[in-house]
Symmetry: C2
Subunit: 337 residues, 2 copies
């Protein structure tokens, strides 16, 4: 039996992979939201001087990765691996960004679960002795996502109240085998869960069962104490999905309500900012973690955190073919010493 | 310094992750090609009883994974992680396939490099002590890829002679910390390389520099002897890309010509089968490795192999935006005891 396993889906890291730095860049709308003060950079416009939204997103990714490395004593050429991905078809923004960074790259797709997917793999690779320095990151962009997954922005489509607003932002973390910072302690990798939801405008409801499955599995695998956490943050279930997740967990005997939040709920003031059920997109949990949560970990306001980024693995093709929405959620447990 | 590193981009695995079984399923055209006798299953038609090509591809993935596990003494619930991905937007075929397998899943996107990307990550996770049993796999389907990346099949577009033919097929490997079979010894993870090629009908030329970079880096990192290999197989450069790679490597002082082949060249009889420069798609190196190469390793006809799956990280959007084609190649070195 592999030594590091706990229960069915969880691993315990033994060599303390450390998040030595993070960086977060967001769009103008996110920069007016409640987490504004936690971000490293707020763009003045969505195009950031590029010719397309896709290239703008790519520029954000590259800048966030460089910015995170610049906060450490390392340079980009010290990085052994980049683990990253985004929402665009064929990971356009990530592939174009890492082209200029000239480091070994593993492309990931987990829809909006990519932040915790990349943190999971990056920390296992460091913990396993394969590298001393790795970058994990992701991004999304409201305009590039909207036109790929939904309608041309120019149509001005009405959005139902269950819909979420794709975050424009990129967050990334630098993980090292040494140095100061919060440590990644445990990882619970999610299964693909599909409860038959078919409405692509209600992804919170589609993803909530995946979040519930992963959180419940973590506690079953480890017998850990819910009260030992300062915060459990799901990926981007939004207000509706968060309520569903809370209720389902309660019914399974896990009352996390005192310490539970959702990155999609935190990032926007949904009433003032007209974002309906909340934020979404890979960038949502990425900038909420790399900005807000990481900052609170560094300041010791939080000492033990569970980040559960959630992804809806639908595609426009699967929706047209009347398929339901498979979802996934990965949990990463991060702790100060 | 992490203990397992060799040079700049290579790691040495120390706990002998073993490929204990593989499975390969191909379409009717691939089943008429020169490697026909090495595949586990040849489909009678491209739809395999499903309503869409995407769902047919998904069915192939699920079947290949189950078939590979059935060749071992394990059952699917013993699998700790599935590492997989495909060419479709949002990994539709993989996400829908693994939904029914109910195992922890890491979604990968490396275009046609996904077979060696999944083998790399899967074997590092086993080597690092995080798991005793992991699946690595990928797929592609001519019809689903053609309509997503190029034109509706009904148009009957003419294909230039530099074009390749997307393989319909799924291949997957079961990797374990114990058991019999060839071992994964070393991994060289590729950087994204872009030499400015913009023609999406000439992906061999776009990907060749990535293959050259990774193969050259492997030999620089390890000082290994070219003659110790029985075969070096690149991903799917096709005939044109293979010639470019061979020439560029020769100019760098690495003459691999005696032991060099390309999965895209092996899989079709390009003259009789009208496949122009050869096969392509994630499934190309997947079924060539999981069928042909693995079989030769088991029979000791090959004892040391380098698989270098190559991916062109373009998207239809990036092509429309007149961008060049970023490419990547990952090398996995597999050896009998």
């Amino acid at each position: 039996m592999a030594q590091k396993r706990l229960g069915n889906q969880t691993v315990q890291l033994q060599n303390s992979p450390t998040i030595i730095a993070t960086a977060s860049i967001v769009g103008p709308k996110e920069g007016k939201g409640p987490l504004s003060s936690y971000f490293d950079k707020i763009l003045e416009d969505d195009l950031c001087g590029e010719k397309s939204w896709e290239l703008a997103e790519s520029k954000m990714v590259k800048e966030a990765m460089q910015m995170a490395i610049d906060k450490t004593s390392y340079v980009m050429s010290n990085v052994d691996y980049i683990f990253a991905g985004d929402l665009l078809n064929q990971l356009m923004s990530t592939s174009f960004a890492v082209r200029d960074l000239k480091r070994p790259f593993f492309g990931l797709y987990g829809a909006c679960s990519t932040m915790s997917e990349s943190l999971s793999l990056a920390s296992m690779i460091v913990d396993g002795g394969f590298s001393d320095l790795v970058i994990a990151g992701t991004s999304s962009h409201f305009c590039s996502a909207e036109r790929q997954f939904r309608f041309p922005l120019e149509m001005g489509s009405q959005r139902p109240l269950t819909a979420q607003w794709t975050v424009t932002g990129s967050g990334c973390a630098v993980i090292s085998s040494k140095g100061k910072g919060p440590k990644i302690r445990r990882i619970t990798t999610g299964k693909v869960i599909d409860e038959g939801i078919k409405d692509p405008n209600n992804m919170g409801a589609a993803m909530a069962p995946a979040a519930v499955d992963t959180i419940r599995t973590y506690f079953e695998d480890t017998n850990d104490d819910i009260d030992s956490f300062d915060i459990i943050a799901t990926g981007d279930l939004g207000k509706l999905g968060m309520d569903i997740a809370k209720e389902f967990l309660m019914k399974s005997g896990y009352d996390i309500s005192k310490i539970y939040t959702d990155c999609g709920v935190e990032i926007f003031d949904s009433k003032k900012q007209d974002t309906h059920s909340g934020g979404s997109g890979c960038g949502c949990s990425a900038v909420t973690f790399c900005g807000y949560i990481y900052n609170k970990l560094i300041n010791k306001e939080f000492n033990k955190v569970m980040l559960v980024s959630t992804g809806a693995l639908l595609s426009p093709t699967s929706t047209l073919q009347k398929q339901s929405i498979p979802s996934i959620a990965h949990a990463v447990i991060i702790q100060n010493d």
